[in-house]
Amino acid sequence: MAARSVARRAAGTVVHRATIVFFLAFAVFPFYWMVVTSFKQNADLYVGATNVAHNPFIFNLPPTLDHLRILFGQTLYLTWLRNTLVVGLLVVGITLLLAVPAGYSLARLTGRWGERLSIGIFLTYLVPSTLLFIPFSRLVSLLGLQNSLWSLVIIYPTFTVPFCTWLLMGFFKGLPKEIEESAMVDGCSRAGAIWRIVLPLAVPGLLTVVIFALTLVIQEFVYSLTFISSVQRMTVSVGVPVALVRGDVYYWGSLMAACLVTSVPIAIVYSFFLDRFIAGFTVGAIK
């Protein structure tokens, strides 16, 4: 009996380990493939999968930095990165200006109708870019902003503001009311209490919003593809897949290097803030 239960537990552990390994392999494989491709010599890279004797998973020739050198030296990758960051920072600024007051207002000052309104604001996050890019393309050409990064600065907050307002509302609700109330008893105005007491306490929440808005901007593809046509003004997520491919020729080494260099830092930063994002999605469903 005891031996059987020990055997069962051992089998359970093996199954558990195997499950974890399987999912890890599935998740990481494309990234592993990016790493291998980024550092392989072309002679090692373009062999063709029909050659069974040539194992593509390992370096058959010594690794090389050529692809990275091409990416940083001969392509507009750094320009795209700069464009993305400029747009990102402006969007973060706009998002904070709009979402912080709105989040606080919904958490503290509006009562019952504010609660309904907050759900309405959250639902606008569900209106997809693939529905709005057509009307936006009209608006953008009316405003004369075709092929300008300003079009992205104006439009990107449409997806950052709703979700960030929602996140911040939850965050402000989590702060004890007594803090502002005692400040107001001591002669502070409501606005003064928000500025001097609430905002400093809300720094972790604000940081989450900054990171969230920034990652959303870096990930965005549809609007950027629709509105930006000249290669110098592209953002990373469009420049790499659209402009690094010259005609029909794919420079896979540099392409994968660009994917890797862009994705990994975002993934690292994102993972630190993940729990807060998930809390934003699951408000109400977990207690």
Partner: protein
């Protein structure tokens, strides 16, 4: 009697003025965000509806009303019907797979093991990476000449001499590839949400079910999954929204090909409305996303209300 009302009045009055000032401040603080959302989400949404009723094109700002003509043309087109079907197939199959795999993975992550923090980070990567760049990675994996999958299949003998899979040149294989990417990308998101649901189930529930003689399967299917229903709903809803409305994967992987057989609504709307310049038609295609989104929004509202009541 008289004195009590007099003494009560100033207090009430003071309370009201603070409230009124707060309310004014509240409206003032909310107005910019609300104005922005109205101008740049609500109005464009209406503009999309409006454009779908016109023959508006990318070249000029002139247009005239054509009624439901765009919708008639769109529905009559086999490419559109194929795209509509694909959108549902991709969403349904990938979300079904994500739900099964996500439950398995979330359970596996509940147990302590060596390197759990790192494992969690790695499992999360597909969701954090920009979708266009991740799809590019998969494009290389599915490459017609250099596909590593084909190499593996050759080595294990699945593909005999002369046999070959053209992943993106074949409708069925292309659909398999697209679904694979959707599963790969959405799995971390659902897993993390499900994990939050699993950890919120108190341990006493598990202990009590063990004392009452419930086996593992009975516990999972009769106790834990029913308890996790609200959180499962959240995971499915967002998973469906993100998959149903996505165009990046199809656009970058197959461009809707071969022969427009792997298009989804979003990528077809882009092809017709932006690349093809037929704004009215593109808008009409995209409008077909709306009914599903409305249903999802209603389900979401209902479940959030239920969560508040219970």
């Amino acid at each position: 009697m008289n004195t009590t009302t007099v003494s009560a009045a100033p207090v009430l009055h003071a309370g009201q003025t603070i409230r009124r000032a707060d309310r004014r401040l509240g409206v003032f603080m909310l107005a910019p965000a609300l104005l922005y959302i109205t101008l740049l989400v609500a109005l464009p949404f209406l503009l999309a509806l409006f454009l779908s009723l016109t023959n508006s094109s990318a070249g000029s700002l002139e247009f005239s009303f054509v009624g439901l003509q765009n919708f008639k043309n769109v529905v009559a087109s086999p490419v559109f019907r194929r795209a509509l079907r694909n959108t549902f197939v991709f969403t349904f199959v990938s979300q079904a797979a994500v739900m099964v795999l996500g439950n398995v993975l979330a359970r596996a992550l509940m147990r302590p093991f060596f390197g759990k923090t790192l494992a969690r980070f790695v499992i999360l990567m597909p969701w954090a990476a920009p979708i266009s760049l991740a799809t590019l990675g998969w494009l290389w994996i599915f490459d017609s000449t250099f596909s590593v999958i084909n190499w593996l299949l050759k080595v294990v003998g699945w593909l005999g001499p002369g046999q070959w899979y053209y992943w993106l040149g074949d409708t069925t294989l292309g659909m398999v590839a697209i679904i694979t990417i959707h599963v790969w990308r959405m799995l971390p998101f659902s897993t993390v949400i499900l994990l939050a649901g699993l950890t919120s189930i108190p341990n006493e529930v598990r202990e009590a079910s063990a004392i009452d003689g419930a086996g593992t399967l009975a516990r999972i299917f009769q106790i834990e999954i029913p308890m996790m229903r609200p959180i499962l709903t959240v995971a499915v809803l967002f998973g469906v929204v993100f998959t149903f409305t996505d165009m990046s994967v199809v656009y970058l992987l197959t461009r809707g090909g071969p022969y427009n057989s792997t298009h989804v609504l979003a990528s077809l709307a882009f092809q017709d409305g932006v690349l093809g310049g037929d704004v009215g038609r593109g808008a009409a295609v995209a409008i077909f996303l709306v009914p599903v989104l409305v249903v999802l929004a209603i389900v979401m509202l209902r479940s959030s209300r239920r969560a508040e009541v219970v």
